[in-house]
């Protein structure tokens, strides 16, 4: 329990150093774009593969389970859309990104800590937490809604492609399902969730990296802990946000 209080205290202390005015905006801007490329663009391929395959799998499973003649075939499209937008494109994608982004951030910052690169910055008078962490948090949080939208679009496309290839329902029925009783709020709800999850992923992973100790083993341990804590918090916040927003 004491450990939990200590970690929470250290986390907020670190965040208070992260959310300061950058020393120079030109440096922050440069870092922001670099991190956007490293965190967002580098995650796109994984996002494409996972979203397309999950979109296709949801479509097959829904089609196979809708055997009643009283349920219209276009419900396959409705189900695929609702599953993707409500849970998959935010929560599941965030859990996948927690592994990719989270381990990358905590191991990068952790190695800088154990090789004294962070100490070198501090001795120069640079706020290392602000320089290293703020651009990561901003890049991931600002671009995360785009990730969610991309995942949603690719997921639907994956389902559509499967329908076109296998003919389990017609493409017209699938598209009709996608448009049926569509609620725009679900998109915003999912985008908000994704932004919160990306904030959690980047800040928690950065925290564990920043306080890494004990050589390369310590860096590995901090990456693992970052992923475990991040994944747990994503699930807790999923519950809270769903209760609050829906």
């Amino acid at each position: 329990m004491n450990n939990l209080f200590q970690i929470t205290g250290e986390y907020w202390q670190l965040m208070s150093r992260v959310f300061r005015k950058p020393e120079k905006w030109s440096i922050f801007r440069k870092q922001f774009w670099t991190e956007s490329q490293k965190l967002i663009l580098a995650s796109l391929l994984l996002l494409f593969i996972v979203s397309a395959s999950i979109g296709a799998v949801i479509t097959i499973q829904t089609a196979n389970n809708l055997e009643s003649p009283f349920i219209p075939k276009y419900y396959v499209g409705v189900m695929a859309r609702e599953t993707l937008v409500l849970e998959f494109c935010s929560t599941m994608v965030a859990l996948i990104l927690a592994g990719k982004m989270g381990s990358s951030i905590s191991s990068e910052i952790g190695s800088m800590r154990i090789t004294e690169q962070i100490d070198a910055m501090e001795i120069m008078g640079v706020n290392s937490a602000n320089y290293l962490i703020l651009p990561k948090i901003c890049a991931a949080t600002i671009f995360s809604p785009l990730l969610m939208l991309t995942s949603f679009f690719i997921g639907l496309l994956g389902g559509g492609l499967l329908v076109a290839i296998t003919g389990i329902i017609t493409l017209a029925q699938y598209i009709e399902g996608l448009q049926f009783a569509f609620r725009e709020w679900y998109i915003f709800y999912s985008m908000i969730k994704m932004a919160v999850f990306c904030f959690i992923i980047t800040s928690i992973a950065a925290y564990f990296g920043y306080y890494a100790k004990g050589g390369s083993l310590g860096v590995g341990r901090s990456s693992t802990r970052a992923i475990v804590v991040t994944s747990t918090l994503i699930l807790i916040f999923d519950l809270i946000l769903t209760k609050l927003l829906l």
Partner: protein, 250 residues
């Protein structure tokens, strides 16, 4: 001048530094020597503000560093340069970007002005045509020299070196030692070096402090060290047969 007064530091109830009193003067290479785990690195980290002393003060030209507010301390650190044991060069940056890093933050110079300063610092440490290489593309000795170039980039008044020769061959170690000594004298920097390399002690030890079990037990220079009657120091300095033979012949 740096003055350490009554410095105490402990970790988890274990006393690591006890009542350290020492002065470091400008234009002099001051060496802190001692066995591994004696408290040298802790002292250095206290000097640069990475650790807070439990008791005692550190004064930089009369200003009490330990009692400075965080903001002032941060500004003050711009007058410090540090060379780390493993160089601590930024992996994500080229040699040029590493040396330019503090200038990017704390000057309004144009890129050309910064580049001119980078080239000057690299030339001063005898490095040329390495600007666009990354730290993992150069040797350990070159990394140390880039570390020195980065440390002197902002014309520091105080230079701290933590085991500057660790992992280097004896010839390269001497090159690095002489370079630090030249720079110290040329720019009248107050230089504090942590080392347990006896070659460095004999080569550049203008002022030496020996730490044993967290206490400063001897102070002198590289000439006086041979004739010291401090037992822990003699055990440390004359640990090998060659050194013992040298002392005997002397």
């Amino acid at each position: 001048m740096i003055e350490v007064k009554g410095l105490h530091k402990e970790f988890d109830g274990k006393q690591v530094l006890s009542d350290i009193n020492i002065k470091f003067s400008p234009g002099e290479c001051s060496l802190i020597i001692g066995a591994s785990g004696s408290g040298k690195t802790v002292l250095l980290k206290n000097l640069v503000g990475l650790y807070e002393p439990d008791q005692g003060d550190i004064l930089y030209d009369g200003k009490i560093f330990t009692k400075m507010p965080l903001k002032e301390k941060k500004l003050f650190r711009r007058e410090m340069g540090m060379l780390f044991q493993e160089s601590a060069l930024f992996d994500f940056a080229t040699v040029q970007e590493n040396v330019m890093f503090p200038m990017d933050f704390f000057t309004d110079w144009s890129f050309e002005q910064k580049l001119e300063r980078v080239n000057f610092c690299l030339k001063r440490v005898n490095l040329e045509n390495v600007n666009h290489l990354y730290p993992n593309q150069i040797s350990g000795g070159m990394q140390k020299r880039v570390g020195i170039a980065r440390a002197i980039a902002m014309n520091p008044k105080y230079l701290f070196c933590d085991e500057p020769n660790s992992g280097l061959d004896p010839t390269t170690s001497i090159v690095i030692d002489r370079l630090i000594q030249e720079i110290t004298k040329e720019y009248q920097i107050t230089t504090v070096i942590n080392t347990h390399d006896m070659n460095s002690v004999m080569e550049i030890g203008d002022h030496i402090g020996f730490i044993h079990k967290g206490k400063l037990v001897w102070e002198g220079n590289n000439k006086e060290i041979m004739d010291s009657d401090c037992q822990p120091l003699n055990d440390f300095v004359f640990a090998n047969n060659l050194a013992r033979q040298l002392k005997k012949n002397k």
